[in-house]
């Protein structure tokens, strides 16, 4: 079974179709591998009871030629997606015993296409964090850690990224609010795609910041990301911001796009950027030129204000979304004879520090007397940031930047300094504010020997150009050989 080490979804589907492997073998392989690498803490729970039975059903369908798009493919799911009758925690003490009575739209689409839930992956509590150190269930370890030390996998989809990188998952779902798919993908050397806001339904995903949250695939290859997006995307009348567009078969169409115009935003070239990232950026630009793309310098003048804008808006929306955890309808309750004490004790014991900080920041910026100065101001700056992108996309098809300002860092080195932690998201947040699709693709190794990913941002609903540009980086960088 060693030949499953470098397998991906595309190859698995081929092997299943030609009956060189069964779904049962595939699922057993990943469950065994996951059990043997429990020290990474990438999973909160494994689907030990059901996955193998589902695989047997998939094998039956395959032998009777009723194979669906993802038949028999094991998928890990970030523990922020509600899965019916299966523990869903958001990595919070507040929801440590929460068993949803319904299934999120995106995961239901995966199961309807024949995919099999292998387990639920760890994350930062309520997806708030950039290092996967705020989880109620403990930190996740980056499987590529060096010098016998523990490095972070990034966050918030750190468990999903670590699981794919360690090959204890064939592929995973993540969610991205300010970089939570792309930054961990960069830190773990995998592909992570945040689709356009509105492309994938948010229904049944535990809400963090509703104007920013978006689900997406975390995979070993760009092609695999397209294969998963084919299934995850689509209109859903249960999400009022879901886009009602014609279905696109991304995996069959993205590689037909050639000769892209690639923008390089000068505001992303900060003096603080390390020479190794500057070098890799130049390499990437050469890859595009080699593949007959045009590279153009562009301006995104309000980039410097994106992070502060993001923290106002995301915290405000979080404070409102997380008001529902009141100890009355679901989740943890700290009993009391007094209703206010019940609320306050439930919330102070159920939430971790980072979540409390963000709820309090959000409450402050929305409170009487400060709303105009902070929240309304941030909404206006967001408008300027969107305008910047609109103007840039008159000249280019995609924008090419680093995913994060550094490679993965050691556990415990940034967790006590919120602002240092927030700075990890400096390159990913602008595309989130504008609702644009963006992918992170591994491009090389840092001097420390840790992976570095680069980001491609596209026009709204133009995931195909993002995937096409990502494929150019993937083919030219040949990251698989460098690992």
């Amino acid at each position: 079974m060693n030949d499953l080490k470098d397998i991906n979804i595309e190859k698995s589907l081929e092997l299943l179709k030609t009956k060189k492997i069964s779904s049962k073998e595939l699922v057993e392989f990943y469950l065994t591998e996951a059990e043997s690498k429990k020290n990474l803490n990438a999973y909160i729970s494994l689907n030990l009871d059901n996955a193998i039975n589902l695989a047997k059903e998939s094998d039956k369908r395959i032998s009777s030629n009723k194979m669906r798009a993802l038949e028999g493919i094991p998928i890990a799911v970030k523990d922020l997606f509600c899965t019916q009758n299966f523990l869903t925690t958001a990595a919070s003490g507040m929801l440590q015993n929460f068993i949803p009575t319904y299934e999120s739209t995106v995961t239901q689409k995966l199961w309807d296409a024949g995919a099999i839930l292998i387990g639920k992956t760890n994350l930062d509590e309520f997806a708030m964090g950039s290092s996967n150190e705020t989880s109620f269930f403990g930190s996740v370890i980056n499987p590529l850690s060096i010098n016998n030390k523990k490095y972070v996998p990034g966050g918030s989809s750190g468990g999903s990224a670590a699981a794919v990188a360690a090959n204890i998952a064939l592929a995973a779902t993540g969610t991205d609010t300010g970089g939570s798919i792309r930054q961990p993908a960069s830190y773990c050397g995998i592909v992570g795609l945040k689709p356009t806001y509105g492309r994938c339904s948010r229904w049944g995903i535990i809400a963090f910041a509703s104007s920013l949250d978006q689900a997406g695939p975390m995979t070993k290859t760009v092609k695999d990301a397209a294969i998963l997006l084919d299934i995850m995307a689509g209109y859903d009348n249960k999400d009022s911001t879901s886009a009602n567009l014609d279905d696109i078969n991304f995996s069959k169409s993205f590689d037909k796009i050639k000769k892209l115009k690639v923008g390089i935003p000068k505001q992303y070239k900060s003096d603080k950027l390390s020479p190794e990232i500057v070098k890799l950026w130049e390499d990437g630009i050469d890859y595009f030129k080699k593949k007959n793309c045009t590279v153009i310098d562009i301006d995104l003048p309000h980039t410097d204000y994106a992070l502060a804008t993001y923290y106002i808006i995301s915290s405000a929306e979080a404070s409102s979304n997380l008001a529902r955890y009141d100890g009355v309808r679901y989740g943890k309750r700290q009993s009391s004879n007094d209703i206010t004490t019940l609320y306050e004790q439930t919330r102070s014991q159920g939430f971790g520090n980072e979540v409390k900080r963000r709820i309090m920041i959000g409450t402050y910026v929305l409170s009487a007397g400060y709303y105009d100065a902070y929240y309304l101001k941030a909404q206006k700056v967001r408008s300027k940031i969107i305008d910047d992108f609109n103007q840039a996309f008159e000249k280019v098809d995609v924008i090419f930047t680093p995913t994060a300002p550094s490679d993965a860092f050691e556990q415990g080195t940034k967790i006590d300094d919120p602002i240092q932690m927030y700075l990890n998201d400096v390159f990913t947040v602008p595309a989130s504010l504008a609702g644009l699709p963006a992918i992170s693709v591994p491009i090389g190794l840092s001097q420390n020997g840790l992976p570095l990913g680069f980001q491609i941002i596209g026009k709204r609903f133009d995931e195909n150009s993002v995937l096409a540009a990502g494929k150019i980086i993937e083919d030219c960088a040949n990251f698989g050989e460098k690992k």
């Binding site: 929460f98 068993i99 949803p100 009575t101 806001y197 509105g198 104007s211 009348n237 009022s240 911001t241 886009a243 309000h302 204000y305 502060a308 804008t309 923290y311 106002i312 404070s319 009141d326 100890g327 009355v328 309808r329 679901y330 989740g331 943890k332 309750r333 009993s335 009391s336 004879n337 007094d338 209703i339 206010t340 019940l342 306050e344 004790q345 919330r347 102070s348 939430f351 409390k356 900080r357 709820i359 309090m360 920041i361 409450t363 402050y364 409170s367 902070y374 309304l376 101001k377 941030a378 909404q379 206006k380 967001r382 408008s383 300027k384 969107i386 919120p418 602002i419 504008a434 609702g435």
Partner: protein, 95 residues
């Protein structure tokens, strides 16, 4: 802008989060740093700029105005810490 201890307590109370006396100073420091950092937005001129609530230009769809309770009462109550006769139970609110 500084978030002093009194303001921390007020925000905590609005957030319905109980903050212990020994935590107040820590939150005051952290929140002050964060708010000072986001104060840089004041550098941006935003006169006559329309605020954005949502990056999509999708019009919020309106469904038919029909009563629909979903017929999922049991499912809704299933995760509640305490229920009785189809209701959520909370401590007495009105004396």
């Amino acid at each position: 802008m500084e978030i002093d201890k009194t303001l921390v307590k007020k925000i905590a109370s609005l957030s319905k989060i109980n903050v212990k006396e020994e935590e107040v100073k820590k939150f005051s420091n952290e929140l002050s740093k964060i708010i000072t950092w986001i104060d840089k937005l004041n550098e941006v001129k935003t006169d006559n700029v329309t605020p954005v609530t949502n990056p999509s230009d999708i019009k919020i769809p309106i469904r038919d105005d029909k009563v629909n309770d979903g017929k999922i009462k049991e499912k809704i109550l299933k995760n509640a810490p305490e229920t009785k006769g189809g209701y959520f139970i909370v401590p007495k609110v009105v004396e």
